[in-house]
């Protein structure tokens, strides 16, 4: 069963520190293959901290490790990077800017 959320992406310190090690490095991979979610949403889906989930949008899908965070229900946060960008469509609404924040996304246990 999949549940629909809204996805926002953005900078984290772990991502910023990891990129200096190289974007193929383990610290960078670990920092960017994470999805943050509220505890209430985790309970509703029936997953624990550290579980793997698949996020899916019309643009693509990918696997991420779940981390509980202080977020409103229905909102997911994924650090910026190549993993997040597998989920982002290339439509820019005529501005040049893709929808890096506010992207509808489905979540299912991996």
């Amino acid at each position: 069963m999949s549940v629909e959320f809204q996805l926002i992406t953005g900078r984290t310190r772990e991502q910023a520190i990891g990129l200096h090690k190289g974007k193929s490095s383990q610290p960078y991979r670990d920092a960017t293959h994470v999805v943050e979610m509220s505890g209430q949403d985790m309970s509703q889906i029936g997953i624990d901290e550290g579980a793997r989930v698949r996020l899916r949008t019309p643009a693509g899908s990918g696997e991420f490790v779940v981390r509980e965070a202080d977020l409103p229900t229905g909102l997911l946060f994924v650090p910026m990077g190549a993993a997040a960008n597998d989920l982002i469509g290339a439509d820019t609404a005529g501005t040049g800017m893709p929808s890096f924040k506010g992207q509808p996304v489905e979540v299912e246990p991996a």
Binding site: I17, D70, F77, T92, G96, M97, P98
Partner: protein
């Protein structure tokens, strides 16, 4: 051992210029006062004497320049992209190369504060310097940005806790508001946190404009925030001595994009009927503000510029890199000091692997991994001198603290221009 003081860190738009770097035998031994995000600029500095590569084969600089020039010369629709982690010297050469080629030149602004640039063109930008913020601002508003993660020393050097002439007690002399869709490290430092529903920035900003004008709002809440809280913010903004709004990707990347930013800029402009109020975009890359400056000096536009007709044309959505790549319109690319394979939507990033791509970058990145020609270049601010623009558009000199044998971006780009004498002559004849 030698110690270099007042070195500038180029990681983010804060351009902190108080870094101390100790150098031993030509290598960086220690760095002081740098934040966790910027430490790698020095500690992980890519300094090995790597040679350029063509299809993975090491070649000398002249051969790589000749191959890059051949690729760009044969392309019908070349794209030059990136620029924001180069110095203004490299950025100027990139724009010159675009002019020589009749290419499109776009910068990381288009996936950062490009929408801010559009709002600036529509409304204007009531701005100030970070020095003014430090010394005078008693109301700080962070909207859709999280400097605790992205601009780590911003609070201490410029905004929340900085002590200045009219703010001698630092944090105690300021009121801090944060507006965001989620709690962050930044919201935890605030006196007031207004948590919006995703995608409601425009509604909330419009409501604040109404409240600042003294009009009534027939609603209990807007965008997840009570009108009572918005009324209190409106009154505080009108009655402060000097307010500054810092805004980020929460506005530019969400639905509405430039329209959100225009609403904030309008609000700030209107607040100047009551007090003094400014807005500063939180610029990400160290010299992304410089890329806007340089492109605007040279073409009249801050990003998304095509020289295909022999004169500059501005076209967000048409000449922006994501759009050109996703639509398959670019048939060759030169990527300067950025990593679009890591930071573009997959459909756009994949195009860079399908066309001949040239990369200039100090470090190996994901784009270099798919590129046909790679130039390992010097790092401005570490082993090359240059100029960068802070987020408030103040120019800061970048020092070199260690030696390098690598060419600068400027030198490689000049080499490519020199390898295209017929095109340069054509341009000369036209102008």
């Amino acid at each position: 051992m030698s110690t270099h003081e007042h070195v500038t860190c180029t990681f983010c738009g804060c351009l902190c210029d108080d870094i101390s770097v100790e150098v031993e035998d030509g290598h960086i031994a220690a760095v002081k006062r740098v934040c966790a995000n910027g430490r790698g600029v020095f500690a992980e500095h890519c300094s090995d004497a790597r040679r350029p590569t063509v299809e993975g084969r090491e070649v000398d600089l002249e051969e790589a320049i000749a191959e890059a020039a051949r690729i760009l010369d044969q392309a019908d629709s070349p794209l030059i992209y990136g620029l924001s982690s180069s110095a203004t010297e490299g950025q100027r050469k990139a724009v010159e190369l675009a002019d020589v080629l009749g290419a499109v030149v776009d910068t990381t602004s288009s996936v950062c504060h490009g929408p801010t640039g559009l709002a600036l063109q529509e409304i204007g930008e009531p701005s100030c310097t970070l020095g003014e913020v430090r010394n005078r601002a008693d109301l700080i508003l962070f909207w859709g940005c999280n400097p605790s993660a992205s601009h780590v020393r911003h609070f201490g050097r410029y905004s929340v806790t900085a002590k200045g002439t009219l703010t001698p007690r630092g944090r105690q002399d300021r009121t801090v508001y944060v507006v965001d869709v989620r709690p962050t490290g930044t919201s935890k430092t605030a006196d007031h946190f207004l948590q919006l529903r995703v995608g409601s920035d425009y509604e909330v900003l419009s409501t604040l404009r109404l409240l600042v004008r003294g009009e009534s709002v027939p609603a209990e809440e807007v965008g997840g925030v009570s009108v009572a809280e918005l009324s209190e913010l409106a009154e505080r903004m009108k009655s402060c001595r000097f307010g500054v709004a810092f805004m980020g990707m929460g506005l530019t990347m969400s639905a509405g994009r430039n329209v959100n930013v225009a609403e904030l800029f309008s609000l700030v402009a209107e607040l100047n009927d009551h007090t003094r109020f400014s807005v500063i975009p939180m610029r990400g890359h160290g010299n992304v503000a410089g890329s806007d400056q340089v492109l605007t000096w040279l073409s009249g536009y801050p990003f998304a510029v095509s020289y295909a007709r022999g004169y500059p044309q501005f076209g967000p959505g048409e000449f922006t890199a994501v759009d050109m790549l996703a639509r398959g319109e670019a048939d060759a690319a030169l990527i300067l000091a950025s990593d679009p394979v890591a930071h573009f939507p997959r459909a756009a990033a994949e195009r860079l692997a399908a066309i001949p791509t040239i990369v200039l970058d100090p470090c190996e990145n994901l784009t270099a991994g798919v590129a046909r020609v790679v130039f390992p270049t010097a790092t401005y601010g570490v082993d090359a001198v240059g100029t960068a623009y802070r987020m408030d558009n103040v120019a800061i000199r970048l020092r070199a603290v260690v030696p390098t044998e690598r060419p600068t971006d400027e030198q490689v780009l000049e080499g490519i221009i020199q390898a295209l004498p017929e095109r340069a002559a054509q341009l000369e004849a036209v102008t």
